[in-house]
Point group: C2
Chain length 240, copies 2
């Protein structure tokens, strides 16, 4: 099955066009032609079973034959992460998080962030590719990077966690608990993942004041992008 | 804290040397000198608190002041995976799996494998770097790639699973169950992850005959390396 992405598709019987990159992929790479069936998602849970009606490699036309709506997951995962110094690592996180399932990714600049600029365009393409690759019908929301204090104000999820690096200095009984022990199923979750230099003490206090609970993701010291994916995976498993 | 890797380190009071790459890293990059404290792991659970006694960037000498032994985890995770066509993806898997915690990674060539050669040298370096980065004392075992039928014979773990791509053709009640529903805590686990073209039917039958249970890792179609990491993460969470 080949899944394409086209936002704003109309109802059964109508015709529409694939975007240029998808048109080229369909006609040139996959060598599809008139009459071939394709699947198209609008990224909002609607899947269209369609038939190619014009095999134009720049503007492939299709007619919608049937439509199928996937309900959203009964829980939602939002990961807020400080972009890594090395862009590859955050791109990798976006690809993997979308593959395994996530609703929203928000970026922020923390006090210890080395990276101060993040362009979403490439990340959005990666997210679309991962959604198609993993055969999902929802495109996760990606938010422009904002300063940490602004990010905190946008949070409306009930289950709020801030992941902290495991510390060698704290005795075990003072350490934050593992996310797996405190998150409860079918929630709306948000997890904050700090930059390579971790959160500043002031940021942790801001988060706690905003109702966030400090958690760990295990005893290993995880890189930023690994921690972000681990939190996402853990919340997904909790809801299997 | 700076953690170095040196297999075969001796007892308290003795001196030893860091390997060339670690020596350069310690002296040139981190600018450590005589009297500075370092941590050294032998990759077998032993952590040595040491002091630099000669700041040679090619052969840094240290004296062991104290030693600490970490017990192995009360469970073990072994992932057997077919190398991906694109080497980056399998390198990424090794880095991430070591970071989050794994005991053993075995590679195999399946009937549908596109890649037929895999050199371990670079992967071993990545594993060492990830162990140090995540501050662990155990270096996971990496096994040379062998044909699938040979791999099956090397399995002695009790909890055996073969991950299968979600199928659109099977009705829900015929689909394999999720790994999260059948694996039980504190086990010795092994999970087989197929190549991009999935397992051949014959391979699935071989695995089932060898006591493997078919499982899924969710409803999304995961890439090989994503599936491999997801299985690893899931078994880790099961044991939190």
């Amino acid at each position: 099955m080949h899944l394409f992405y086209q936002p704003g598709v109309d109802s059964v019987g109508s015709v529409a066009f694939l975007r240029e990159d998808d048109s080229r992929h369909a006609i040139k790479t996959l060598r599809l032609g008139i009459g071939d069936k394709i699947d198209v998602t609008d990224g909002h849970g609607n899947r269209y079973l369609a038939v190619i009606t014009s095999a134009d490699a720049r503007r492939c036309q299709f007619r919608i034959m049937d439509t199928q709506t996937t309900p959203p997951r009964p829980f939602s995962v939002r990961i807020c992460v400080a972009p890594t110094k090395n862009l590859d690592r955050i791109e990798w996180f976006v690809e993997k998080a979308v593959e395994v399932g996530i609703e929203r990714i928000s970026f922020f600049f923390g006090q210890h962030s080395e990276r101060r600029v993040l362009k979403l365009e490439r990340l959005e393409k990666i997210a679309v590719a991962a959604m198609k690759q993993s055969l999902q019908s929802y495109l996760p929301q990606l938010d422009e990077a904002v300063p940490f204090s602004e990010l905190i104000k946008t949070v409306d999820e009930e289950q709020r966690f801030i992941a902290h690096l495991p510390s060698m200095d704290l005795p075990d009984d003072n350490s934050p608990v593992n996310l797996a022990k405190v998150a409860t199923p079918t929630g709306q979750y948000v997890v904050l993942i700090g930059p390579e230099g971790d959160f500043a003490e002031k940021e942790i206090q801001q988060a706690i004041a905003a109702g966030f609970q400090m958690v760990t993701l295990g005893t290993n010291r995880l890189r930023t992008e690994t921690a972000a994916l681990t939190a996402c995976q853990l919340l997904n498993f909790l809801n299997v």
